[in-house]
Amino acid sequence: MGNAIHAAGLDVGYPGPHHPTTVLSGLDLDVEAGTFLSILGPSGCGKSTLLRVIADLIEPLAGEIRVLGETPRSVRSRRDVGFVFQDSTLLPWRTVRDNLRLPLQIGRGSLTRPIEDKTEELLALMSLSALADRFPHQLSGGQRQRAAIARALLGEPRLLLMDEPFGALDEITRDRLNDELLNLWRRTRTTILFVTHSIAEAVYLGERVIVLAANPGRVVADRDLQSVKQPGNRCSREDPVIVATMAGMRAALEAAS
């Protein structure tokens, strides 16, 4: 399988007349297609910015970025990338079903392949069928995030970018959604880039974990976890090897902060 992401010498910043800020500096990263990659880092290290460069929401100042072998723009306009935000970003005036259908209704001009209406399938997959006619404010935080994930999956993207999607949820809901997400990934093998603050979540989910340091953002640690996990990216949160891995990641994160 080829590379889903290839970044070399990536500089990202916001050019201001008075305070030009550098967010990412000289970032190199290669991610194999089909990988579940967790991205850890202190606040302000540019984790979210990295996702936004890949999704063609921000243009880098310098360096090379290829997504699925192409420019971020062509991948985005072909609808090959799905994005899940920390707040679900469900439109409050649409029901759950209509929120899921949004990708079918906009941006069709740049599509090169037809998008199948899998709304009902995804509602069922995410256990939302009974809630399909509710409005977002009538859902719990976990249900809202499930709807946001279902919406991101509607176009069957080859790359799923998740920006702290479970950051605002309670621990029980978060653990449950982690397992649902892993099951989904095992079935589809979509490349997932998952940004999180939580070391436990990063290690439990990722086949590979990278740690970014702040000021300027760069990769300071890169661990392949396939050797410490069972096949299919399976592990137990209580497994001593996993606990030890988390402790190692904590040390790397502390060094980066």
């Binding site: 985005r76 609808r79 935000f85 005036w93 949004l102 906009i106 941006g107 001009g109 740049s110």
Partner: protein, 252 residues
């Protein structure tokens, strides 16, 4: 029943009626007993009698005001909405012309009315213009804020989905703006009537404003109060229309 301070639904429905009724009874019997002359405050029954006696006269003056208020409301709000759409799509035009709009808003409408009447004459047009001007500014401000109120994440979501400008407008900015638009339309439903009546005060021989002026000069206070009641009913009617449309459009 705990809700609303422990009142039962029946009490919540009946108490406002009793409240209004008690005030009307006090007005009917206590004010005359206290020696307030009828030419200053006529009794509710006297005002009601005017409706029975001079119904055609009142209605004949009600409709011009209603038409002016509704036309002014429609034109003023519609042009405010259009200008807001132009402004949020062109920061250059907004930067150039918003200060001008802001300056015009500082001129009291009452001071502007004689000029509007000079320009448009004595027919219905100047009243419609005054009603429109009075509705325009609050709606413009609210609509601009509403159209700009989508969050950064919502804009990013639409960009990830490669939406074009018109999709962004119809599916994000406009629905986002509706709650703010309607809060200003609700206020405009009352101010449009004020605008029409103020216009009629300055130069008109028909309409509720003209009737109010005539009745005042002729000491026909029962007719004056009846005209006031009709103006208020007109505002309430417009308000109810706005709220009904709002409930239909904003269901969440």
């Amino acid at each position: 029943m705990i809700a609303h301070g422990g009142l039962s639904p029946t009490a919540q429905a009946v108490l406002p009626i009793l409240g209004v009724g008690s005030l009307l009874v006090a007005w009917q019997f206590l004010l005359p007993a206290a020696g307030v002359p009828a030419y200053i405050v006529p009794t509710p029954s006297a005002i009601f009698a005017v409706f029975a006696k001079s119904g055609p006269l009142l209605l004949g003056n009600f409709w011009p005001t209603a038409i002016e208020a509704i036309a002014g409301f429609t034109i003023g709000n519609f042009s405010a909405i259009l200008l807001a759409i132009v402004f949020v799509h062109s920061r250059i035009l907004q930067a150039a012309y918003f200060p001008v709009v802001l300056f015009f808003n500082t001129i009291p409408v009452l001071a502007l009315s004689p000029i509007i009447i000079l320009i448009f004459g004595l027919g219905m047009t100047p009243k419609i213009v005054i009603a429109a001007v009075i509705c325009f500014f609050p709606t413009l401000i609210n609509m601009i804020r509403g159209l700009d109120s989508a969050t950064a994440n919502e804009h990013e979501l639409f960009r990830v989905l490669s939406s074009n400008r018109s999709e962004l407008f119809w599916r994000l900015r406009l629905p986002r703006a509706l709650p703010m638009l309607f809060s200003s339309l609700r206020i405009a439903s009352a101010t449009a009537v004020i605008g029409a009546i103020v216009g009629e005060w300055i130069g008109s021989d028909k309409g509720l404003g003209a009737l109010i002026i005539q009745a005042t000069f002729n000491y026909q206070s029962d007719r004056l109060y009846a005209a006031i009641v009709l103006s208020s009913l007109l505002s309430i009617g417009l308000f109810l229309v706005v709220v009904t449309v709002e409930r239909k459009l904003i269901r969440y």
